[in-house]
Amino acid sequence: MKRTPALFLFPLVVIAQEATPLFTASTNSVLVDVAVATDQRPAPELQREDFILLDNGEPRPIAGIAHDELPLDIGLVCQSPLRSSTVYANRDDVIGAYSPDVWGISQRLMDAAGDAVFGLRAGDRVAIVSYGRDPHIALRFTDNRKAIAAGIKALGNPENSDENIVLSSEALAVEYAVRMLADVERDDAAARTGRRRLIIMISNVFGAGTRYADEPVIRRLWDQNIVFSVIDDAPPSRGTTTVQRAGGGDSQTVLFQRYNPIHIAQATGGDRIVALETQHLGDILTPIRQRYTLWFNQPSDVASGESRSIKVDLSDAARRRLPRAVVRARKGYVAR
């Protein structure tokens, strides 16, 4: 299906403190948020010519760049405490009963959740989705810090416990968060572009969770331009490898066992944070908040709905100036 030109229906809107836009963009523009960090510090003052962007492997001109700290809309997705000790007996590699201390929401993960949103600033909004067998809306989007703190605290309350997850639980909980973000956007038309959108999953089923085809989830997040990050408390293990984090530094990630949240985070430009790595807590929001926003025009012959890959890196000149820089961005988009 060919994309329907609809330039006049969707005029470019520029909201500016200083009213002159530096760049123009058309309706087939694609926004890409890019984190650049060197030695765990965001790299400032980069210009459009400091970046290169590949669309399906082909270089595309970058039409514009902005670097601004935007308020965040954060969907916090967290597994409910387990109501009872349960067994994953069918997993060949995971046999036995697990206590809620391990497989419920541990205090460490709760602390991580609290730390992750500790860096909230005025104007940031948080919603919470909890999930066991089914997802539940635990908190609708609010910028009320007391309500957010109470919502996080309630995640560990045994009264909010549920049974263990089933195949559909995790992805459906993410879908809930996506829909809540879409609701916010419906009520606040500037939310998509005047704010950054992030889903943080607090996960405790590392290596033993259900596996599912997560490409549709990734495609959904690409389509909505939502960054997905995950916090878990699993130590490095076999089959893991070290990857560089958006905010700098290293982190372990799973290579061969497809642990869906990490795969989704990698594809959407997000982070995996290990709650054990206390030095990394609390910095999950800063790289998101301080990202560059690039935009480019999608090729004219692209069919609407097509998934296309994106690769963003520094230009050779910028790379010489910042040889250790880590560049993180989503790896694809859905064509309009």
């Binding site: 609809a6 969707f10 470019l12 809107v13 520029v14 500016a16 403190q17 002159t20 836009p21 530096l22 963009a25 309706t27 087939n28 523009s29 694609v30 601004d68 935007l70 109501r83 009872s84 349960t86 067994v87 007996a89 069918n90 060949d92 009963a97 067998r133 089914d134 049974e163 263990n164 089933v166 195949l167 559909s168 992805a171 459906l172 879908e175 809930y176 996506v178 829909r179 879409a182 956007e185 419906r186 038309a189 572009t193 005047g194 259900t210 599912y212 085809a213 997560d214 490409e215 549709p216 989830v217 959904r220 389509d223 909505q224 076999r238 089959g239 290579l255 497809r258 795969h263 935009w295």
Partner: protein, 236 residues
């Protein structure tokens, strides 16, 4: 830098929120050889319906399943993931991620787990809470095949599975939670040898591999070599 925010209204337009799709498929990966080992091909459809505050969320996914006369199975989902099982020699379970160009190979020497956990069809489900007490609920004829129906309930999740015990194939699996119904159905079963030019049961080259082995003392350890070679015992 001038502070500005660019708002692209087209990009703010919502994509279709009607569907979300997110399934792996369930297949019978038990290590025991079926009594009816005819080669076959089949289609698989998985459906999720979830009641949500936004109304019903529906997702439908499709996949393919093949079995050849050499004791090899292959399952493909729609996203470049393949699961291959090879019963020749040590049972190998191979997961091929074509998107990430990764291959995960596990050698499994049956029985890897207590027999009581393997013989029930529930073991193919992704959630077995350990108190499964399936009840035989009769038989059905599905796709011209006789299927045993088993049902159960555990921790608020109810199950129903129809198996062709002769083929060692789960023809239908369903679970229900308070708000979610998941079903997987095997259909359009054709008994014929898969065309080797169209269906490759081999392991592609040029992928990064991770090979794990099993032994009574060490249920999961990395193979001494991490290179797959057909016919070679990976774990010696």
């Amino acid at each position: 830098m001038a502070r500005f925010i660019v708002s692209l209204w087209l990009l703010a337009g919502s994509a279709s929120l009607a569907h979300a799709q997110f399934f792996d498929f369930l297949a019978d990966w038990s290590d025991a050889a079926p009594s009816d080992a005819r080669p076959l091909a089949a289609d698989i459809t998985a459906t999720l319906k979830a009641h949500s505050p936004w109304g019903e969320i529906t997702s439908v996914e499709s996949g393919k399943y093949w079995r050849n006369s050499k004791g090899q199975d292959r399952f493909d989902d729609a996203y470049g993931l393949s699961e291959i099982r090879d019963r020749r020699g040590p049972v190998l379970h191979v997961r091929i991620d074509r998107q990430l160009r990764l291959i995960d190979i596990e050698e499994r020497i049956p029985p890897r787990v207590p027999t009581s956990l393997r013989i029930e069809p529930w073991s193919i489900l992704p959630f077995n809470f350990g108190k499964v007490d399936p009840k035989k609920a009769g038989e059905k004829t599905v796709e011209g095949l006789r299927a045993t129906v088993r049902t159960g309930e555990d921790h608020g999740v109810s199950y129903e599975v129809w198996t062709s015990d002769q083929l060692g194939l789960v023809l239908f699996a369903q679970y229900k939670t308070d708000h979610t119904v998941f079903e997987q159905r095997v259909h359009n079963i054709r008994f014929s040898e898969p065309n080797p030019e169209q269906v490759d049961f081999g392991v592609p080259s040029g992928y990064r591999t991770h090979i794990t082995c099993w032994s009574p003392t060490d249920p999961e350890h990395e193979a001494p070599g991490q290179t797959y070679e057909p016919g070679r015992d990976l774990c010696k």
